[in-house]
Amino acid sequence: MKIFFFGWPSFYGGADTKAAHLLKLLAGHVDITVVPNFPDQLQESCWTQKLDEWGVNYTALEFLPDRLDGVALAMCNSEFFSSGIYSNARRRGLRIVWSSEMMWHHPYEVDLIKAGAIDRLLYVSEIQKKALDYESFCDVPTRITGNFLSVEEFPFIERSHDLPLTIGRLSRADPHKYPEDFPVFYEALALPDVRYRVMAWSDELAQKYRWHRFDHRWELLAPEAEPAVEFLQSLDLFVYTLGHRFTESWGRSTVEAMLTGAIPLVPAGHHFASLIVHGESGYLCHDFLEFQSYARQLAADPLARQSMSLACRRRAEMLNDPETHRAVWLEALNV
């Protein structure tokens, strides 16, 4: 099987980090060629070195042969439609597999699906399936492929009990992902001797929360200010409240956090119940008071925290068995 992946991996954002782990998962099992949207991305040696290491090819669109046999895969890549990359791929004879990754349809996505431009559609979760609902307007076959994380990329570390408790979050700097009351929600948990760490912060977020006085307890880091793994390893609790109009399609950063040993406290709903066993590997909270109660229990009991931290790692490892994920993907890409 030959896969042409249209896009480029990244250390930032759910879909592009997913791409990096997926390429590594499938490398050696299928022939993969990565085709970035922009040729200058091929100069990013941090990624080309990894692709070389995994045995994954990469080239610019213009250098692809005129006729190809295989599957074009694009994930959350708006350019794939808006810049006509999909038609270029199709013209070369590739079957097209598309994964939105988001809870909404990308520009042109629906029209092109209806026009027959896509051969297979991928969902990331049931909740995303419910939102996108391709079945309601087309008969293109669909699969749920989920999300794979390479567990060795996020080593577990045991947290020190001598340092202040650190709570925080990692997500795209999308204001819709942040609840309206984000900083006051953290502070209202009223945890003793606490630090707050957030990545990725942005000017837009600073503007949204300009009414708040972030004091010495807060550390607001720009995107990629630290490697994601180091940032997550610095957190005891991953407190991930979300905007009131935002639905998380999967929750990749939550599982990354769990792998490192950070304990997730997340809102009930979304896809989180599939990721977290409530009370064992984190908490699904229905209310501020539940967030507060669980956070305070964990803050007061380092041994319980340590035990749950390990359970988070085990749970996240279980969710990311490479053999299982590879089988799902190979079937989904067998178009």
Binding site: P179, E180, D181, V184, F185, E187, A188, K208, R210, W211, H212, G243, H244, R245, P267, A268, G269, H286, D287, F288, L289, Q292
Partner: protein, 261 residues
Amino acid sequence: MCYWSVADGRYAQIMTTCIMSARRVGVSTEFHVWTDRSIPGAVCHSSGSYEHRNYLFKFDFLLKAAELPYEYLVFLDADNFFVRHPGNLLNQTRYAPIHVCMESDCTQPNSVRPDWWGCPLSDYVQFMRDCGVLSRSVFNTNAGFWIVHRDVARRFVDLAMEFWEYCSRQGFAFTEEAPLAYVGHLLLGNPYAHTLAVNQDVWASDWTGVFADRLPDGRPWNFTDYISGETIPVQPAIVHCMRSKKAMVAAASPMRKWPTY
């Protein structure tokens, strides 16, 4: 911070009494009032003509108030009466950008009323859920007193009107109170720290008319929960004496004798 309000016609006289009561207990904070006449003790701004229906004008005037050089804007309905100095009102915000009094929990099974502003409680709760409110308790509010940081005023109004318009599409054209409660749920951090029970020493609404047709005297009284019918003792510094409007109009006369406390 400053106090602000919108008061025209008879409400301008009521506002006069409100301000006099504040000055009498030592409150020196400025009152900015959008009005159609002069109000003693207030910095008056022309209200112009505006739509009174559903009291949504409060949100429009909030955006005008946000242009004033104050960080926090404390809204008071005209029919509020100070019986003692309320202390630092910004403590009410508890570091949130707003304070809205979370009054009655509409999710409780022991409600003695089936509705709020004609909307079945179950529908009201569902509208909140539909618009992203996750808390187990869903409160109503009385819109006589609320605080907004000026840097969140625009967002406050946008969120309020989103909710109002959503409810309107469902067939319920609320007053300003339902959207105010909605914004409270989204912006307070811990809504349970903003309940009437927790904050009863600062402000409460005499909606049952404990002080009907007279001015509050500063003594404690029993507040009746609008939804559950349960009572709690309250002794607020500021009484929203909504059943005492005639007495407040009369008290605006310089000849009127005020209660002592």
